[in-house]
């Protein structure tokens, strides 16, 4: 009994000893105090305010079948076309903006909490405790406002440029503001070139603002406030020099920037890495010709070295940016590689924007096909996360994808790029809505053109419509790939997609789709066939509706009518089935044919005439044949004979002899008579309608214009 007890005791002692051993030589145990029970809680890890939220957010994966978070409030309103997505998001934000406007216009309504004692009202506004800056009315600065230096600091800190300028003037302008504040203010206006930046509050507005590519032109305001402040400063600090040079260089006032940097060097003013970086970007504005430019670039780098200024990643990016802006060619490309090697030597790796400029430099539209992307991807895949370092970083993925799609035409590379973008937090590097849609346009295009059918379909199913809505050109690619893949079911669904995406009025796409359907329908299952017929009939209905609307409402751009070829395609599709709806659609289409532009497909129409006659729809057959004859198709004759033979249930020879005879009036029923007339019209070859010839010639012109 005793011995039994003793052994566990020994064991626990042994365990305790072992534990102490590990704590001595192994990892540092968190708790200094060793508790006898062996439980040692881990040390406290200090967490930031959003750490928990970030961990939680990381557990939410993306669901391609669901609409984006910002759209899902009301399932009925979930937008599916690009236009509607944009207006939905912007409307939601417009509401917030309106609220903010009311708040800013009437700050007196937001000054106090009701439960605050009157004595607590020590400030004019918002004495809520804690004070929440984001909810507080924005201060409005005008000529009457009494401002202090604090206001200037506030406006500079929040990048409220116009307000800052106002406050600066109210404070007494260049003469009365102290040097330190003046310097801060100078940096602000140099950074933005006296232009108000976008507010950081309206996230959707920024997301959807079509990023107009920054003009590479001298936009620096000469003799503006920045210049005045700089002249007024005495002594001129290195900071002042640096801000002004950087500002000028940023807005491409290259010569002044360069001259100022010379002046600074003469006065022994220490410059900075960033100043040199901005000067490197400007070389192209100073020198002409590749050789001179490269010389100047190397000179600047050497000068940096002499001044004892350490280069950074930005230096590398600036060099490559300059090189890529100077065109292409072997010399520049070799130079770029040398620069990269040089910086790698001193331990500086290129960042995303450097890679972006590299791609720009090597993958020219008409240049030789150079695969530099796979090397870059290998480098990037090694990294755990891609930290944005430069605003140009957001151009990397879209450029990489466009290189995949247009330059290298390689689906595997495209998939690697996409995988990289989807990794971790990298998606934020996609830029804005505009860049995102271009990115996906390239991805889908390359998939349509160069990926196996199944892979393409998988990709399309994930992306469309919640992540990406294809533009008309991409839609055309998709229709093409569906046609080549013979996917009849998807083709029939494409029509509803066109409607949902707002492309249904694009005649070109619809006609393309009809062509594709015609090409595929013959080998589809019966079920699919009927689906295709349904969507073809629906197209016809849709366009009739649109036409009615056109008549009632005058719009700026009236929708075109379906052309005769499109109509004959619809006839072709519908005539594969037996349903009454299809034949109604055929009837409609045949009626429409007369007023449609262009000429229909004679083979289809003559076949449908015969089939209609077989089904006893003589009137339909007659109108189809009349159309053929009026257009002057030679098929009209044979088709009329065939149709008549079906109608009258005689052999073709009999019909032909009968047609030789002259007096048929009264012997035949009305529709058969119409067929006979069509036959005669076709035989005599006199087109009843002059319209055809004149219109066809104008059509030919227009089509050749399109070429």
């Amino acid at each position: 009994m005793y011995t039994n007890l003793a052994i566990p005791r020994q064991w626990s002692r042994l365990a305790c000893f072992c534990r102490s051993l590990t704590s001595v030589e192994g990892q540092k145990l968190p708790q200094a105090g060793k508790s006898s029970d062996g439980i040692s809680p881990p040390p406290r890890i200090p967490r930031g305010p959003t750490d928990i939220l970030q961990a939680l957010a990381a557990t939410v994966g993306t669901d391609p079948t669901a609409a984006h978070y910002k759209y899902h409030d009301d399932p009925y309103l979930i937008p599916l076309s690009n236009f509607r997505k944009r207006s939905y998001a912007l409307s939601a934000e417009a509401g917030k903006k309106a609220a903010a406007w009311v708040r800013d216009q009437h700050p007196e309504l937001f000054t106090t909490r009701e439960w605050d004692p009157p004595m607590k009202m020590k400030t004019p506004y918002f004495n809520a405790d804690p004070h929440i800056e984001a909810f507080a009315p924005k201060p409005i600065y005008n000529d009457e406002t009494k401002v202090t230096e604090e206001d200037l600091v506030y406006t500079i800190k929040n990048a409220l440029l116009e307000d800052a300028v106002k406050v600066f003037e109210l404070l007494g302008g260049v003469d009365n503001v102290n040097e330190e504040l003046k310097l801060y203010f100078l940096q602000l206006i140099c950074f933005y070139n006296e232009k108000e930046p976008v507010s950081n509050e309206w996230i959707e507005e920024r997301w959807f603002s079509t990023a107009t590519k920054e003009r590479q032109a001298t936009t620096w305001k000469l003799g503006g406030l920045a210049d005045k402040i700089f002249t007024s400063m005495d002594p001129k600090t290195p900071e002042a020099y640096c801000s002004l040079i950087k500002g000028m260089a940023k807005y491409y006032q290259a010569e002044r920037a360069y001259a100022l940097s010379r002046e600074a060097l003469e006065n022994n003013v220490p410059l900075s890495t960033d100043v040199y970086n901005s000067l490197l970007v400007c070389i192209g504005f100073l020198k002409e010709g590749v050789t001179l430019r490269i010389e100047a670039l190397l000179e600047l780098l050497n000068e940096m070295n002499q001044q004892g200024i350490t280069p950074n990643t930005g230096t590398l990016t600036s060099c490559l940016r300059s090189l890529s802006a100077w065109g292409g060619g072997k010399t520049l490309q070799n130079m770029a590689l040398q620069i990269i090697a040089e910086f790698k030597n001193i331990g500086i790796e290129p960042n995303l924007s450097a890679y972006y400029y590299l791609l720009c430099l090597f993958c020219k539209e008409r240049g030789p096909r150079i695969d530099i992307l796979s090397g870059i991807l290998t480098e990037l895949e090694k990294k755990d996360t891609l930290e944005p370092e430069d605003v140009a970083d957001t151009s990397f993925f879209i450029t990489a994808m466009s290189v995949c799609s247009e330059h290298l035409q390689d689906m595997n590379l495209a998939e690697r790029v996409h995988k990289l973008l989807m990794k971790g937090d990298n998606y934020k590097l996609v830029g804005d809505a505009y860049k995102e849609s271009i990115y996906y346009r390239h991805l889908v295009t390359v998939a349509c053109r160069h990926a196996p059918f199944e892979r393409t379909m998988e990709l399309l199913d994930t992306l469309i419509p919640n992540i990406y809505v294809p533009e008309p050109t991409v839609m055309e690619e998709i229709i093409k790939v569906l046609e080549l893949g013979g996917a009849g079911e998807r083709l029939s669904e494409t029509w509803s997609q066109l409607v949902v995406f707002g492309h249904a009025r694009r005649l070109r796409l619809v006609e393309r789709l009809l062509d594709a359907m015609c090409a595929c329908i013959s080998y589809q299952d019966e079920e699919v066939k009927s689906k295709i017929r349904k969507s073809a009939a629906d197209m016809l209905k849709f366009y009739q509706m649109v036409e009615e609307r056109n008549e009632n409402v005058t719009t700026r751009t009236p929708v075109q009518k379906l052309s005769a070829v499109a109509l004959s395609n619809i006839i072709d599709l519908c005539s594969t089935g037996e349903e009454p709806e299809s034949w109604e659609a055929i009837q409609l289409a045949v009626n429409e044919l007369g007023s449609a532009s262009g000429a229909g497909r004679a083979d289809v129409i003559s076949t449908v005439a015969t089939t209609a006659a077989k089904k006893g729809q003589h009137a339909l057959a007659a109108s189809a044949l009349t159309y053929l004859a009026e257009c002057g198709f030679p098929e009209a004759m044979s088709a009329s004979v065939d149709t008549l033979s079906v109608m009258l249930n005689r052999s073709t020879e009999e019909v032909e002899t009968m047609l030789q005879g002259t007096d048929l009036q009264g012997k035949l029923q009305e529709s058969a008579m119409a067929v006979v007339q069509a036959y005669r019209m076709a035989k005599t070859g006199e087109p009843l309608r002059e319209r055809d010839s004149s219109e066809s010639s104008s059509d030919s012109e227009s089509s050749s214009d399109e070429e």
């Binding site: 900075s272 040089e342 002057g632 030919s700 089509s703 070429e707």
Partner: protein, 356 residues
């Protein structure tokens, strides 16, 4: 019956093409070729006939070049040399492949046409059997064979070319698009033998260093611009921020904007002013009475009540509470004379200190 009808139609097409009477209505060039091709499968004598017709059609346009130039604006002359023999070659390829496929299909039995179409599509990576796409197939074969097939206009003779331009609306579009698509597909299919030599891989780290900078040395980034750096960060953040994709991200955004409580939740968040003040200073306010307040009497009583009230006030800071008390101090001191007259102002600092 049906096939015969079709042949007849095709002849008509053909006749129309040749006669050039109604070139506007001509929508059928792709169909001609391919329907012909289809018929080949069926009857071999028809094949021969159509073959010869095709050749004659392809080889010589009915209108001479000069005539064309007079009537239409023509595209500048393009490579014309290899055309003839290529055409023959193409026809041969088409013929042989179709024949081979046909043989296999016959051998297999069953739905001969279906099998054959499948075989052909397998060969060329397409499934289409219909007319337009079979022409597509032929085009694809062409490109496979000859290396420099960039230009769609290259494999049609001038007559077709002009007709294509004149052709009405859509048939034109089809052909154009198909050609485009075939080009693309071709570039994919034939990449191994056509494009590989063109793509040159560049190793980004293959360059020779310039040798300007030294690895070691003091790090010196020069003059620092604080505001500029802040603004840079702001712009970068704006460029990479996106609308929140779920509620947690929205919460993160709001937290960063300072609109919601920060985690971990703390009731005194945002009350930085009072953060380092001990609670006792809020509650035990009697000490502020020391030195001026009478130790007993109505004023003392009143002031103690004031202290109790203030100690329960959650909204005042300690400084405000102190100021509040001091206000009374000043008030009473200003009335000192009267108070002393009625005997309620009886401060004895010494004794009060002794008592505390």
């Amino acid at each position: 019956m049906l096939s015969r009808l079709r042949i007849r139609q095709d002849f008509k097409y053909f006749m129309r093409c040749l006669s050039d009477k109604v070139p506007e209505h001509d929508a059928g060039i792709p169909e001609i070729k391919t329907k012909n091709a289809k018929d080949q499968k069926k009857s071999s004598d028809a094949t021969d006939k159509i073959q010869s017709l095709l050749k004659s059609m392809m080889a010589e346009p009915k209108i001479s070049d000069s005539e064309y130039r007079e009537r239409f604006t023509t595209a500048p002359e393009r490579r014309k040399k290899q055309k003839a023999d290529e055409e023959v070659k193409i026809e041969k390829i088409e013929e042989s492949i179709t024949k081979a496929a046909e043989d296999v299909a016959q051998a297999l039995g069953g739905n001969v046409k279906q099998t054959e179409a499948e075989l052909l599509s397998r060969v060329l990576g397409k499934i289409n059997q219909t007319s337009t796409t079979l022409s597509d197939l032929i085009v694809g074969m062409k490109v496979d064979r000859s290396k420099d097939r960039e230009d769609p206009a290259q494999w049609e003779n001038r007559g077709q070319q002009v007709k294509r331009l004149v052709e009405k609306s859509k048939s034109d579009n089809i052909r154009y698009n198909q050609r485009k698509s075939t080009n693309q597909r071709d570039s994919q299919q034939t990449r191994p033998n056509r494009n590989l030599p063109q793509i040159s891989t560049v190793n980004i780290f293959s360059g020779e260093p310039l040798g300007i900078f030294q690895k070691e040395g003091p790090v010196n980034h020069g003059t620092k611009l604080e505001v500029w750096e802040e603004l840079d960060k702001r712009e970068l953040l704006l460029a990479t921020s996106q609308p929140p994709a779920n509620y947690f991200q929205k919460m993160i955004l709001w937290t960063e904007q300072g609109k919601v409580w920060k985690f971990p939740i703390n009731n005194e968040q945002g009350m930085e002013e009072e953060q380092n003040v001990h609670f006792s200073e809020h509650i035990f306010l009697d000490s502020h009475l020391d030195g001026w307040c009478p130790t007993k009497g109505p004023i003392r009583h009143f002031m103690e009540l004031v202290c109790v009230g203030l100690s329960k006030n959650a909204f005042y800071t300690v400084k405000e509470k102190k100021d509040h008390i001091m206000w009374y101090k000043e008030y009473f001191e200003s009335k000192k004379d009267i108070l002393q007259d009625i005997g309620v102002w009886d401060t004895k600092p010494q004794t009060s200190e002794a008592s505390t």
